[in-house]
Amino acid sequence: MIDIKILNEPLDTASCIGNATDAACGGTASFIGVVRDKTDGRKVVRLEYECYESMALKELAKIAAHAVESWKINNIVIHHRVGVLNVGDVAVIIAVGAAHRAAAFDACRYAIDTLKITVPIWKKEVFENGEVWVSPHA
């Protein structure tokens, strides 16, 4: 089962992990990305996530399809939140259920690593005295 969503509301960690897990799964690996309180020592007030939704959904679907082709996994759930997020809010959840845990871990890690490179979502960090579009590895 593949479940991909871009949502403008809080993500539900427990239900994502539950949906990735079925009676044929021995284990579910998951990753949640949360809004950190500081970047390079500067206090983050909030984050604004923007996305190019039609393309982002396509790129997420490619990641899920490639994960299913490459590892023996039963289910993959990828939910990404957009809009205004506060410190501690969950921005992304990836959960992968598989009969064997190595496949679940590998696919989960592949999915988050690739998402951060290919999926057209951008975040702007808002500090007390300014804001900046995040450009990783700049």
């Binding site: 951060k116 951008w122 450009s135 990783p136």
Partner: protein, 80 residues
């Protein structure tokens, strides 16, 4: 004929809004589009890299743009 070019992230700031219109004259490749845009919006060259998406797919430099295509400028992504 005008084509519409979508901007995201910091590129919205370069363009001064979420999209610009560009006159499509004759044959234009993605590489040609980039050159044109960089001439008008030199801030684009400040980016570490950026991609052009055509119809929701990352496009190669050689791709020829058609009037009906949906074009978007994709600065380095930062999701997750």
């Amino acid at each position: 004929m005008d084509i519409n070019i979508l901007a995201f992230g910091i590129v919205k700031e370069f363009f001064g809004g979420p999209s610009i219109a560009l006159e499509l004259q004759g044959r234009l490749t993605v590489a040609g589009l980039k050159e044109k845009l960089e001439a008008t919006y030199p801030d684009l060259k400040r980016l570490r890299t950026y991609m052009v998406a055509v119809n929701d797919e990352y496009a190669e430099d050689e791709l020829v743009i058609r009037p009906e295509d949906e074009i978007a400028i994709i600065p380095p992504v930062s999701g997750g």
